[in-house]
């Protein structure tokens, strides 16, 4: 392959990397974590009960019911994921009343019909539908519910025996309504006594989507309001841009043209990382930014190691071409060993941990790959270009090379 073809091939590689990154970002965008974008993050843990131990099946059922509840609440783009053996993580975009949403989502919502002594006569497991309505005759919000065949038969028997007596309706431990049984009821019933239609609708959702098989406890909830979310994004972006700008200025001041090349490489590194984050659908959180800062530091360090090595080689009296060649070769082992050691730490963290620390580890892994690629391949190509086009010169551009 001739000199020209090699040049063209290298240029194509660089442009290809940039293009793929931009396209990936364009296509998927970056998922910002709730700590940056605003929203609510809830960690729920399934609790064993006397009759049921939490297993994979329970978790699947919980996941399904919670997903339906969230959808019924009309929240856009919720994310629900399993975490470990008995945890669910629910992420909601910014909502008006996050506490209320958390309450509704995490509630067991077991409907019970009880007699006057509090004895449970029947549960809501046979309920097939529940709708909130404004009852015209009764002039109050109500829930009309419907039972399946088995439930209807049993309800008929129960109510038949209770005509004239009060029946209490509970949702978990919350008393909803006490009504006197007028006549035997089979498949359709009504719950009254709601303060507002909104309240009735929330409970109707819980009834309709069914009770959770086991209770959930809230382990952690974090809400970032829309105002703070926007502030965080603005400040992080501004600080990040300033940080990179100063790094660029420092690199140019220290290494002149090669410093400029390193800055360009950092720009490409930035695009590559954004492209990878978008392509892998990773979520960028505050700790994730921490991982990126470390990998930027390592990318800068890699360039500095290379340039210092080239300077040393120049001092030994080698030609520029030979110095670049051996400078890169000698820097290579240091960069690779340092990055692999950090990569080991990141991989193990990603495997063992969840949440915050995992977010850090995942972006660090992405960042390490991007930074090694940039330092060892992109910087090299750009330095070669600069050399081939005769803009890279020995002493003056590698300031400090002469003793």
């Amino acid at each position: 392959m001739g000199w020209k073809q090699k040049q063209i091939l290298k240029a194509i590689l660089v442009i290809f990397v940039i293009a793929i990154s931009v396209a990936s970002f364009w296509h998927s965008g970056i998922n910002l974590g709730l700590d940056l974008a605003g929203g609510t993050h809830v960690v729920l843990e399934a609790q064993d009960t006397g009759s049921r131990e939490v297993d994979a099946q329970t978790m699947t059922a919980l996941n399904r019911i919670i997903e339906r509840r969230v959808n019924q609440l009309g929240l856009s783009e919720p994310r629900i994921q399993r975490s470990g053996d008995r945890r669910l993580i629910v992420e909601l975009p910014a909502v008006d009343n996050p506490d209320r949403a958390i309450e509704v989502i995490g509630r067991t919502a077991q409907l019970t019909f009880r007699d006057d002594d509090g004895e449970v006569l029947m549960t809501g497991e046979h309920l097939v539908d529940a709708r909130s309505e404004y009852d015209q005759m009764y002039r109050n919000p109500v829930i009309n519910f419907q039972l399946d065949d088995v439930g209807a038969r049993r309800f008929q028997q129960i109510t038949q025996a209770m005509i004239g007596e009060p029946m209490q309706i509970y949702l978990d431990d919350e008393w909803l309504y006490t009504g006197t049984v007028q006549s035997a009821i089979s498949d359709r019933g009504q719950i009254r006594g709601f303060g507002s239609l909104e309240e009735a609708e929330e409970i109707a959702i819980l009834l309709r989507e069914g009770a959770l098989p086991v209770p959930l406890s809230i382990e952690e909830s974090r809400t970032v309001g829309p105002t703070l979310g926007q502030v965080s994004i603005d400040q992080s972006l501004r600080a990040g841009a300033l940080g990179l700008l100063f790094v660029g200025i420092a690199m140019v001041a220290l290494y002149k043209l090669p410093g400029l090349i390193a800055t360009l490489t950092l720009g490409i590194y930035g695009m590559l990382v954004i492209g990878l984050l978008a392509g892998l659908q990773a979520v960028l959180t505050l700790p994730g930014i921490a991982g990126l800062i470390l990998s930027i530091g390592m990318a800068v360090d890699a360039n500095i190691i290379i340039f210092e090595r080239i300077k040393e080689e120049l001092r030994f009296g080698k030609t520029l071409r030979a110095s670049v060649e051996s400078g890169f070769r000698r820097a290579m082992t240091a960069i690779i060993d340092a990055n692999i050691t950090t990569l080991i730490t990141a991989l193990i963290l990603a495997y063992f941990t969840v949440g915050t620390v995992r977010g850090f580890a995942v972006t660090l892994i992405i960042g390490i790959f991007a930074s090694m690629f940039c330092a060892l391949i992109i910087t090299r190509i750009l330095i070669d270009f600069a050399y081939d086009f005769k803009v890279l010169k020995g002493g003056h551009n590698f300031v400090g090379a002469r003793r």
Binding site: D35, V43, P98, D99, E103, S217, I218, E219, E220, S221, R222, T223, V224, G225, T227, L228, S236, A239, G240, G243, F246, V247, A250, M251, L254, L286, I289, A290, G291, I293, L294, G297, M298, V300, D301, I304, I305, E308, K311, E312, R330, T333, A334, D337, A338, N339, I340, T341, T342, I344, T345, A346, I348, L349, F352, T353, V354, G355, V357, F360
Partner: protein, 295 residues
């Protein structure tokens, strides 16, 4: 340049030991200012349309009766807003709603800037998992460095990491700044930085050793540290510049995190030069089992 980094190692070790002991003393006396991520509790920050005094806020709080003697009301550290921060035991969603409703009844434009509630188990678990991960990572790193270098390099590198972690933890015990999970992320970043910084110097030692130009191990270490000095200085200058910028302009949310990095990067650069490499000579002299096979 002729500076005896290795020969003067007792001085550097003493400086570090003194710093670490001071840190550990503070750690023992006062401990760390653990935030809700570790201890559990609620931290809710409210924004208002107009200035609300802490006493006005406390009055509303008293009406809600959260039954928490330890509740702390303080001004928000966010800039340019009328904000108040409340720390209490972990509140249930019902209690939190009740509080917000009571505030809305009293003040205009009440918005929750953020509301974090953590039950203690999660923070503990996170810390334990991170520690477990680090122990496993350390073991694998020992194996990796032992293969690529020699076992003694692995121990020296991990000593430097431990040094940096202790310095940073001690610093946070000393200034008693509140720490949460970002602090853990910060410590992990420092560990990565420290290993990276140290390995690059070790790489130079490994390379110089092949040339056999140096009369003894001590001279080899000194020469390698000095050869790597421009890189150490330039890298730490550049990264510290970046971190300082973000510390100053990144907003309140990431201040603690950036402070962790700032202290840690200083410690990391220092320990690579003054602890890890000189310690190689200590191992060489004191622990025959880890001595290099060829001089």
């Amino acid at each position: 340049m002729n500076f005896d980094f290795v020969g003067n190692r007792k001085i550097w070790f003493t400086v570090s030991i003194v710093l670490i002991v001071v840190g550990i003393l503070f750690l023992g006396i006062r401990g760390l200012n653990l935030g809700i991520d570790f201890q559990g509790g609620s931290l809710i920050e409210f924004k208002f349309d107009e200035r609300v005094s802490l006493d006005e806020f406390r009055n509303v709080l008293a009406g809600v009766d959260l039954d928490d003697e330890g509740a702390v009301v303080q001004p928000s550290d966010q800039e340019d807003i009328y904000g108040i921060m409340l720390r209490t035991r972990a509140l249930t969603p019902e209690e939190s709603q009740e509080l917000t409703a009571a505030l809305r009844a009293e003040f205009a434009g009440v918005e929750q800037l953020r509301a974090d509630t953590v039950w203690p188990t999660i923070g503990e678990e996170l810390t334990w998992r991170a520690l477990l991960a680090l122990v496993v990572a350390s073991l694998i790193i020992i194996v990796y460095i032992s293969i690529r270098f020699e076992p003694k390099y692995a121990f020296a590198a991990l000593l430097a990491v431990l040094h940096d972690v202790l310095i940073v933890v001690g610093f946070f015990a000393l200034v008693f700044r509140e720490i949460n999970t970002p602090f853990v992320a910060g410590l992990l970043t420092i560990i990565g930085y420290s290993i990276n910084d140290t390995i690059v110097i070790f790489d130079r030692i490994r390379e110089n050793k092949k040339f056999k130009r140096h009369k003894d191990y001590k001279e080899l270490l000194n020469a390698s540290i000095i050869a790597n000095l421009p890189r150490s200085i330039n890298t730490s200058l550049t990264t510290l510049l970046c971190v300082t910028t973000i510390f100053l302009f990144g907003g309140v949310t990431i201040k603690t995190f950036m402070l962790t990095l700032l202290v840690g990067f200083f410690a990391g650069t220092y320990s690579s030069i003054f602890i890890a490499s000189p310690f190689l000579l200590t191992i060489e002299e004191k622990i025959p089992a880890l001595r290099s096979k060829e001089a």
